[in-house]
Symmetry: C2
Amino acid sequence: MAAPVPGGFFGARFSLYPLTDGFVPVILRAIEGLASSGLEVQTDDVSTFLGGDRDAVFGALAESFTAAARTGVHVVMPVLLSHGCPGEEVCEMPDDQPHPPGAAKRKLARAGVRVSAQWSLYPLGDPAYMTRIEEAIARGKSDRVHVAGRHFVSHLAGDLADVLTSVRGSFDAACERVGHVTAHLVISANSPSTAGHGG
Amino acid sequence: MAAPVPGGFFGARFSLYPLTDGFVPVILRAIEGLASSGLEVQTDDVSTFLGGDRDAVFGALAESFTAAARTGVHVVMPVLLSHGCPGEEVCEMPDDQPHPPGAAKRKLARAGVRVSAQWSLYPLGDPAYMTRIEEAIARGKSDRVHVAGRHFVSHLAGDLADVLTSVRGSFDAACERVGHVTAHLVISANSPSTAGHGG
């Protein structure tokens, strides 16, 4: 039997898309802190994987997006969160039981970046997955970041820190109950389509 | 009891991100065909929902991305595919049974657009979901678009039509077995990071 995974294997995969001709320097400056984050970082031509401590991963996502958004250009960041199975094909979970991640030890600071976001939560292998999803939507509403339900996603808006904190809260709550959980999130700021009402 | 859904409710949610200062006209030109596609189209500030015939949805995704990629700018398209539940919170499936979508009636034509892509498949509520995922990865390999397994995703590359056709094949195969299936895909073309080896 494999050794238990403390808190469960956790990681994120993200990409930063600044919609400008000068996207390369915006991206490089936004992610320059990753090297000293203590996280496992693997970059390929489509996205970057971050593995390690949950607080550090959410901190790195917030810092990278904030740096890119502060340039003022329209910037978008798709994020995949995953808890449980590290691999692609082979699920290396030591068992099918939940590995509760515990409470966040670090709070994300508000940095004044307004975002518009859409996200979906996928508790896998659980026949009661819709109950977990309903709980996540209720949390978005009580956290006051839920704007609307849309086909397949919840639409959130607010300060980046509030949106990420709510998404993490729902994600971690699902991990308390389910061994393998993923979530997909798209975060947008400075969009000309949302001038005045969100990201 | 609600009426059965022929083929199962199906739709896609996508965004187009051309990484250029002139992103607005590139996007508008890329999606101008949607109005006459016969699909249900709902656009918000983060993404666009397409609902309706599977052949038409995949055709619209391919045409939109091709038009944007042909400008030569680095362009990225995140896509969420969903079969089964139309809503956010309330799953309006008439039952928990699969609603097989049947075979594709239209083949996507190769348009010479090389892409690099990452995707994940989520058969929901199914304890055997890892088996479905393994089948999808095997299909990517036999379709010769699978480049590598990465944390949480499969990395694909090839002609846009071949990549989308393989993803659809795996998605539809999962829908034959599972009532509610989603998938997330990020497609990239003209990236300076992949010059010479993919998208």
